[in-house]
């Protein structure tokens, strides 16, 4: 069985580490990291990803553009995407959700909140998937 793979896209090294620690609550998962949207797309070109967790405000390519590019690709159209952001910024968060993100977690975040959100999104995605006869 393939291990669940998370891709954490965040320009702050401290936040990348903190999110990584939180995700380690998922047993035997693999956590990949990228520093911005462009870096994430490079990683996704050769690594299968199960959940994408991204910040919004990043240099080079921000999280909103990343969400848009991912959702525009039919191969990744169903990929669970969670935004983790400080943008109090309902406007940015709403834009992210409209572009196709599945959920968001506000910074400063609690590990439990992120884990719960990931679980909820995965359950929702599994329930929406057509059952194979």
């Amino acid at each position: 069985m393939r291990r669940m793979t998370f891709l954490v896209v965040e320009d702050s090294p401290a936040m990348r580490q903190l999110i990584g620690f939180a995700l380690k609550r998922f047993p035997d998962c693999r956590i990949l990291q990228a520093v911005d949207g462009a870096d994430a797309l490079r990683t996704m070109a050769y690594e299968p990803i199960d959940v994408l967790i991204t910040d919004i405000n990043m240099p080079i390519m921000d999280g909103l553009k990343l969400v848009k590019v991912v959702r525009g690709n039919p191969a990744m159209a169903d990929l669970p995407i969670i935004i983790v952001t400080t943008e109090g910024a309902d406007a940015d968060r709403e834009r992210g959700m409209k572009l196709g993100a599945d959920a968001y977690v506000a910074k400063p975040m609690e590990a439990g909140d992120l884990v719960r959100t990931v679980n909820e999104v995965l359950k929702r995605k599994a329930a929406a998937r057509p059952s194979v006869p």
Partner: protein, 238 residues
């Protein structure tokens, strides 16, 4: 111990007593619950402790993760914004008399303002003078001559105040400081000063090397090598 130090100690002691009481109560609740019944309260408390320890570990690691002054300031900024939820802040360093403050960074990055400025007055001056952190009651920003202030944390080292972080505003979705924030800001107060001082000394040391960089290991080796009167040599002296 000074009066203020004693008060801080007493305050910390009572908070620890309170925490111990909570843990005892949770264990009693767990012991009295039916076998196999999930002790949700204990799980939640464990989650909270894990979360706090993760945050403290990450903050400490990143504060001391570099000898580059710019990196230390960037990491401090990241900790305040991402781990505490600070939206606006100013980092001041104080001169040896604690009479002058210099703004060196804010939420946008490094501050390139006037080299020195007098103390802002009000809360900031009190914090620089006493070394006791300030948190506004009910998180209502106190207006100081330099702008609003919801909290002011002294950066300390060996009992001296090297500067302060004045927090002007928290992110909109955060209603106030939680216990976790106090612990992280306490770490920031205790650890930022040494981190900034180490980075500043390292930069100065490199500046004396006429363009040849010995690297951190070379600096440490050189400094330890020339340290006068080590304890062992004193012990062996007649």
């Amino acid at each position: 111990m000074s009066g203020s130090g004693h008060e801080q100690f007493t305050d910390r002691e009572s908070r620890l007593e309170e925490a111990l009481g909570t843990v005892r109560r949770l264990f009693e609740e767990q012991a009295s619950s039916a076998p196999g019944e999930p002790a949700a309260a204990v799980a939640a408390a464990t989650d909270g402790t894990d979360d706090l320890l993760m945050n403290l570990y990450v903050a400490g690691l990143h504060l001391h993760g570099s000898l580059d002054l710019h990196d230390v300031l960037v990491n401090l900024r990241e900790i305040l914004i991402n781990l505490v939820g600070v939206e606006r802040f100013v980092l001041y360093v104080a001169d040896s008399t604690a009479r002058n403050l210099r703004a060196v960074a804010d939420e946008t990055g490094l501050v390139r303002g006037p080299a020195t400025a007098g103390p802002e007055g009000g809360i900031v001056s009190v914090v620089v003078r006493t070394g006791i952190p300030y948190f506004a009651a009910d998180d209502d920003a106190e207006t100081t001559p330099g702008g609003p202030c919801v909290a002011c944390v002294p950066l300390k080292m060996a009992g001296a105040v090297l500067g302060v972080v004045k927090i002007e505003r928290l992110v909109a979705h955060k209603s106030g400081f939680e216990q976790r924030d106090h612990e992280i800001l306490n770490l920031v107060g205790e650890q930022s000063g040494p981190a900034l001082l180490a980075a500043a000394l390292y930069r100065r040391y490199l500046g004396t090397q006429n363009g040849t960089s010995p690297g951190p290991a070379g600096v440490l080796f050189g400094l330890l090598d020339v340290a006068p009167g080590t304890e062992s040599s004193q012990e062996t002296a007649p």
